[in-house]
């Protein structure tokens, strides 16, 4: 195949593989009916917030998409009271009836899939290919999956959480979700909570509130009883008000380990139940007998999917020394084919970084990587003039002590580390306070099973990466948080 000596710039024009140019293939945004301003969704209706409000922008263009209400403590209190009132009837409703509402929601999500996908890409900056083919279908699948649990809860915890075998909802769930998968994280939080008979007050991230507000409209279309789902928009203060509200029985949070710690502190001494899905620094381990081209695809998917804004991203590539050169060569070649740009273009692989703030953090940590002596490489790519962009990047010669190998960067930045023996690979993989996910690439089944058993991580992908399914429990060990989302295990956090 192509040889590495040809300089990149020349190569991109002469190599048939990359000289091939794509015509622009933009998805129309006409399907989305953007309003100029959005209120809070409380007790089944949209209401004004008492805060000053904020703007949400398209990170690919910096264009203002809408003005969004900011919920103050008083607004959050109103939402919690609505949820408490709704809890009385929702928790007593027959499970089979509750399930029907969730099935309705799942169906409406499917019906309005394209609209949701376009809006998600507009507000978040992720490629339409991912929001259309991954996020939105998985969102619908979550509601469909948990809808079916609503009338089968006595089978979910057959052992009986407290020995009784009569699972009951906790009450009002306060849920705070991040900006990387706005709608998917909403589904992970709301679907199991509602199936178990809880009501919710959910706060989406301040940079990506729009699909949650469209979801509120979907709740209206589904005739979901008022107050069962309440959406309060805002930033950290609003989130703190949700988590700290004395009448919230359960806190569910996905986000940074730092905020997770603060939440764990704030609920201490209360009766609130908590589940936390926090950061990660996943090792993606490639052994010398791995199917290398598949592994390279897995590495790319592991770190460049969703611009690397993934808590379980495979941000540390552990590659066996004997094949490191070959893997790196093929990885770089593959990275040259990645298309960075307009999230609404159907051919885009890597979209925009979600916010200026996040871009700054990625830049800072990458600069630290260089300062600490790691070798930085990115393929040549033209980045748009406006918006927040960062090219897919790898660092070689990374040691365990480097900050880029220890801290979550939450961007398209991969640290490459080598190892010689499986034992060394396991030691390096586990050498982190995080424990969310890991990857293993090998053709040898016994080795995969041994390594999988040794890794201190909640999800282990062997010969694949970044797979999600509503039937599959997801969650971390150690400082990646506690509790599981997805599957039967996902119900445990919402039942007493």
């Amino acid at each position: 195949m192509a040889d590495a000596e040809v300089p990149q710039r020349t190569r991109s024009r002469t190599d048939p593989a990359t000289a091939f140019t794509y015509a622009p293939a933009p998805e129309s945004r006409a399907i989305v009916d953007l309003r100029s301003s959005y209120g809070l969704f409380i007790d089944g209706v949209f209401v004004d917030g008492s805060g000053s409000g904020f703007k949400t922008i398209n990170p690919a263009t910096e264009e203002v998409l809408a003005q969004v209400a900011e919920a103050t403590e008083a607004d959050v209190d109103r939402a919690v009271r609505a949820a408490r009132k709704a809890f009385r009837s929702w928790s007593r409703m027959k499970g089979s009836e509750r399930g029907k509402y969730l099935f309705r929601i799942a169906r409406i999500i499917q019906e309005r899939a394209r609209e949701l996908a376009v809006l998600e890409s507009l507000d978040n900056g992720k490629p339409i290919r991912e929001s259309r083919d991954v996020d939105v279908p998985t969102v619908a699948a979550h509601f469909f999956y948990y809808a079916g649990w609503a009338d089968k809860l006595e089978f979910a915890l057959p052992e009986g959480r407290n020995g009784g075998g009569d699972p009951r909802p906790l009450g009002v769930a306060g849920q705070v979700i991040p900006w990387n998968f706005p709608l998917l994280m909403l589904a992970w939080k709301i679907a199991p909570a509602l199936a178990c008979g809880n009501t919710v007050v959910l706060k989406p991230a301040e940079t990506t509130p729009l699909t949650a507000l469209l979801f509120a409209e979907i709740c209206q279309q589904a005739d979901l009883p008022p107050g069962v789902v309440n959406i309060v928009t805002g930033a950290g203060e609003t989130g703190r008000a949700v988590v700290g509200h004395p009448d919230v029985d359960k806190v569910a949070f996905t986000g940074s380990t730092e905020v997770g710690r603060a939440i764990a502190r704030s609920v201490a001494g209360t009766s609130k139940k908590v589940t936390l899905e926090l950061g990660g620094k996943a090792a993606n381990i490639v052994f010398d007998d791995a199917p290398i081209d598949q592994a390279v695809e897995g590495i790319v998917n592991g770190i460049f999917f969703n611009q690397g804004h993934v808590c379980c991203a495979g941000s540390r590539l552990l590659v066996q020394e004997s094949i490191a050169e070959d893997v790196l060569h093929r990885l770089k070649r593959r990275m040259k084919t990645l298309r960075v740009g307009d999230p609404l273009d159907k051919n885009t692989d890597i979209g925009a970084i979600n916010s200026a703030e996040q871009l700054t953090r990625i830049r800072e940590l990458s600069e630290i990587g260089e300062q600490e002596g790691a070798g930085r490489w990115s393929p040549a790519c033209d980045l748009p003039d406006r918006g927040f962009w960062f090219p897919p990047t790898i660092f070689t010669g990374v040691s365990q002590a480097h900050r880029i190998a220890r801290e979550e960067i939450f961007g398209p930045v991969l640290s490459v580390i080598t190892f010689r023996t499986p034992k060394e690979a396991v030691e390096k993989a586990n050498n982190t306070p995080y424990g969310l996910s890991a990857g293993i690439w090998s053709d040898k089944g016994s080795r995969i099973l041994w390594v999988a058993s040794q890794l201190r991580a909640g999800v282990v992908w062997s010969n694949t990466f970044n797979r999600f399914d509503p039937a599959s429990p997801f969650g971390g060990y150690k400082e990646s948080g506690y509790g599981r989302e997805g599957g039967r295990h996902g119900l445990e956090g919402y039942l007493r």
Binding site: R161, A262, A264, G269, R467, A471, S472, R484, H489
Partner: protein, 285 residues
Amino acid sequence: MSRADIRKTYKLYIGGAFPRSESGRSFMVEDAKGAFWANASRASRKDARDAVKAARAAFGGWSGRTAYNRGQVVYRIAEVLEGRRDQFEAELRRSEGVTPAKARTSVDASIDRLVWYAGWADKIAQVTGAANPVAGPYFNHSAPEPSGVIAVAAPKDPLLGLVSVVAPVITTGNTCVVIASEPHPLTSITLAEVMATSDLPGGVVNVLTGSVPEIAPWLASHMDVNGLDLTGVTDPELARELEVAAAENLKRVRRPAEEDLLATPALDRMTTFLETKTVWHPMGL
């Protein structure tokens, strides 16, 4: 001439050995009638750290054993305890002033509890694990794994209380550091002698005696401890402070709760300190 009895020095149980507190401190323990019984070791911060180190060192080996083997070891603790039941009945009567019948009930329940948990060792994965029917060609299953080193504040009851909080933690493959009942520490150390002679590897259970408010904060804030069981913490403000300290490395916390020790336990004593690991692999020809 009457014979002077040989009195026992009650020490700590760390890493399979019985050291005195490195601090050289002790505290006086009286029997139920208020008479002097013994000077128990008063564990220090350093003892707590040594115990965590021993528990961490033991974790790989203990969690790596087969569930069948762990079950047999827990069962063996019951066997050895059964053989020394007279001693425990006598100690319970002396420390708490309970009737012979009550002491017997307590020892019976402790032995039976160990047997109950021994039987769980190779079943908990079947009850809490799952085969996940994902929508794609993947083999996908979830299985429980121990969280690691668990710090436990044991309830007042020195035998049944200790067994009730320690057995679920170690049966599932965790190792632990337990602060024994503060008012009745001696029987817990006698129980440690049972554990030391029951094929339980050194370091799997480490027992500290002394002051809960003094030792527990060091365990709650220790970065190499993965879980915190506050069952024996009776002061709500202390419990809150310990939970706050535990947040630093996101320890799994079990809050204090009143519990009928004689009732059949719920599974959450085990599941609180279990993680769920989900493994994916493609399926195909």
